[in-house]
């Protein structure tokens, strides 16, 4: 099976620092792939290399099994993190221009953009200048711009950043729909929670190196259900001294309790219920966020 995107031992250094250190990455066709990591981890550099905007120092980047070229790039839709519109251009002409660079005829792109504008709440605004739209609206225009040439692969760098909650939902729905239509989605983000539910595969990178990758379900399963969620009223400061508790993230009325191996969640519940009024108790898999923190701190130690 050819991969939508494949990076083989890719390395990229800038003048003063190494941004990506020998990265291997495989994005299967049709997957929703999360490229996760904190700011400065090398996500954007990785994506720019995938888009052939910058070349790797060493290593190989393959799109759909081939070395990238112009025609191949026309099959990708790319929304960079640093994004913007020509402020003085009319939305419709802007979209036509961008699609034309991808080889779509103006009449065709005009036909295609209308349903998308409708659906993202921009109906009737296509004759407006970009600078007359709000920031969130501009971002939606960029999203449409990314998919107007009907790409097989979408690379979205921080797609949710700057969107309000409603916009986030609209965007997520659109992305899910594209995924159901068989597109490959590569979504990069530093906010792991927002993409965690959507992605079937993730790669976590930190300092230019891959910390972890694979199917989300597998990653989580490998950690087991080792986390206890408690919501309560009272002073929970004693929780961390209970037997079987490895660590506590105490947020006052809510705590995430990391269990030591072979700890008994029921014993902890019994000990806590004597001192606190428990309103929620749940044994869960750790979040990607927690896994990431754990892996990164392990590396540091």
């Amino acid at each position: 099976m050819t991969h939508a995107l494949q990076l083989k031992n890719v390395r990229k250094a800038y003048q003063d620092k190494v941004a990506v250190k020998g990265l291997d990455l495989e994005v299967p066709k049709g997957s929703v792939f999360g490229l996760l990591g904190p700011n400065g981890a090398g996500k954007t550099t990785t994506i720019r290399m995938a888009m052939d905007i910058i070349g790797p120092d060493t290593g190989e980047v393959l799109i759909l099994g081939q070395k990238t070229d112009k025609l191949l790039r026309n099959r990708i839709g790319y929304m960079p993190e640093e994004r913007g519109l020509y402020q003085k251009m009319i939305v419709e002409e802007l979209l036509v221009f961008m699609a034309e660079l991808k080889g779509v005829k103006p009449a065709e792109s005009k036909r295609r953009m209308m349903p998308w504008l409708e659906r993202l709440g921009l109906g009737g605004l296509h004759r407006k200048k970009a600078n007359e739209l709000s920031k969130g609206m501009q971002q939606k225009v960029q999203f449409i711009q990314t998919l107007l040439h009907d790409p097989e692969i979408l690379i979205l760098d921080e797609p949710m950043s700057g969107l309000d909650p409603v916009g986030t939902n609209v965007m997520r729905d659109a992305m899910i729909e594209l995924s159901r239509a068989g597109k490959t989605l590569i979504v990069s983000s530093h906010q792991m929670a927002t993409v965690e539910q959507m992605c079937d595969r993730v790669a976590l990178i930190n300092n230019g190196e891959k910390v972890l990758d694979g199917r989300v379900a597998d990653i989580k399963a490998s950690y087991g259900k080792n986390t206890l969620i408690l919501a309560f009223e009272g002073d929970g400061s004693f929780l961390k001294s209970l037997p079987g508790v490895a660590a506590v993230n105490d947020l006052g009325r809510y705590a995430e309790v990391k269990l030591a191996p072979e700890a008994d969640p029921q014993a902890i519940l019994r000990a806590a219920s004597g001192k606190l009024k428990i309103t929620r108790f749940e044994v869960v898999e750790p979040s990607l966020h927690d896994i990431f923190i754990e892996r990164v701190t392990e590396v540091l130690v």
Partner: protein, 437 residues
């Protein structure tokens, strides 16, 4: 040409041509230039400056002669023919009309005091003092609040000189009428020799060529700046990354140059049409009757777009490279001057080339690619150079254009994705040498 370049050029062209600045500039340009051409001509023929002057004569015998001469010459009784208005230079006083005020005061010292006071109070513009020994020493004094009215000063100088000469010749025993006849000034006509024959060149058709040279100069810098601003905008808007994910930075740069250059060419085309129109219509316009407007040289008009585009591509590619390397227009200012230097040098060399258009120095200067757009075109408008020189200059400049756009596209490729620190010139040179991405 690459299809992406065309798509980008089309966008750039349409966006530029649509701006208010373009529309206004296109309309006002010819009006401005027509004004530039017509107003001096009309002024020269219909208006003359009036200057009040007092002659203080310590020598004692010169005052009347000088005053007559300043007033417009009863000293030369022959009535002059009405002159060509473009060449209106009454010989005794240039375009300056003098109003003679008699000196007030008992003696020379008192007259000087009085005249000085009047000048300071603004009731008198000029007074001249002719010392007692003016006939032997040939020295006189000109007093005014400002001494920069060169034409007026020259007229005064000539009037005094004429009076002094007349006195000296008179002292040698020659009659007044003879003196007038003997000292009748010479009228030097300027005739241009060319293949088509000889015609009197009053300097204005030449002025028009100079306007074309100025248009190349201003156009190159202005449209070059527009390219730079566009590049910086794309960078600050962060549009650029989307575009280079669809096409190469090189295509983006070339598309931009072609599109903006096209817009510049369109504007100049409209302007030149306007100029031709004004020239053609001048015969039928009443207020221009008697004002001689020049005909445009068709060879120059054909050469204009070539030299403009050569200059534009050369400088605009450098401007684009700068724009890509910086973050703001303010940051760009530091880099602009070195880029502009050669074209400014070309303007500085202008008088040298104009005085001797076929001297070795002029030939060499006009073959330097960064100066060719200005200086070769200037030579063509002064004295048509040999075809091989024109061809050579175009070929050399074209080669430089290719080299510059190549280098600029390499700086551009790195620069457009660089944010933050402003790079130095050595860093930009390293970007040019760097291979790959």
């Amino acid at each position: 040409m690459n299809r992406d370049i065309l798509v980008i050029a089309k966008r750039e062209f349409i966006e530029r041509v649509r701006t208010k600045a373009f529309v206004i500039g296109t309309i006002l340009g010819p009006i401005f230039m027509a004004t530039l051409m017509i107003v001096p001509a009309v002024m020269a023929s219909k208006l003359a400056k009036s200057v009040s002057i007092t002659v203080i004569d310590a020598e004692g015998s010169l005052r009347t002669l000088v005053e007559d001469s300043l007033r417009g010459g009863t000293a030369t009784p022959e009535k002059e023919k009405p002159e060509d208005p473009m060449n209106a230079r009454p010989r005794n006083s240039g375009t300056t009309k003098f109003v003679v005020k008699p000196a007030v005061g008992a003696d020379v010292a008192a007259q000087r005091e009085a005249a000085k006071k009047e000048v300071l109070e603004g009731r008198l513009d000029v007074y001249v003092v002719l010392p007692p020994d003016v006939l032997s020493q040939s020295q006189a004094e000109y007093y005014s609040k400002s001494v920069t009215d060169f034409e007026g000063i020259r007229a005064v100088d000539r009037a005094i000189e004429k009076a002094v000469f007349a006195r000296r010749i008179g002292a040698a025993g020659i009659e007044a009428e003879k003196i007038a006849a003997l000292t009748k000034p010479l009228d030097l006509k300027r005739l241009r020799v060319s293949e088509e024959g000889e015609h009197e060149d009053k300097g204005i058709s030449f002025l028009l060529s100079l306007i074309l040279v100025m248009m190349i100069y201003v156009g190159t810098l202005m449209w070059g700046q527009i390219v730079m601003t566009g590049v910086i905008e794309e960078k600050t808007n962060r549009v650029v990354e989307v575009i280079v994910s669809s096409t190469t930075p090189r295509n983006l740069l070339f598309g931009k140059l072609v599109g903006v250059g096209g817009a510049g060419l369109l504007q100049f085309g409209i302007w030149i049409l306007g100029l031709v129109g004004v020239s053609a219509a001048s015969g039928s316009l009443a207020f221009l009757s008697g004002v001689d407007l020049p005909a445009l040289n068709p060879v120059l008009i054909a050469a204009f777009p070539i030299f403009f585009l050569l200059g534009f591509f050369l400088y605009a590619s450098l401007y684009a490279a700068i724009g890509s390397a910086v973050n703001t227009i303010q940051e760009a200012q530091n880099f602009i001057f070195p880029v502009m230097l050669p074209i400014i040098m070309a303007m500085v060399c202008w008088p040298v080339v104009m005085r001797a258009p076929d001297s070795t120095l002029s030939v060499v200067l006009s073959l330097i690619p960064f100066m060719t757009p200005i200086l070769m075109f200037l030579r063509m408008s002064v004295l048509m150079p040999p075809v091989w020189q024109i061809a050579l200059s175009v070929v050399l400049t074209l080669a430089t254009v290719f080299a510059m756009t190549w280098a600029a596209s390499r700086v551009y490729r790195v620069g457009i994705l660089m944010y933050g620190k402003r790079p130095t010139f050595p860093e930009m040179l390293r970007w040019i040498r760097q291979s790959g991405g």
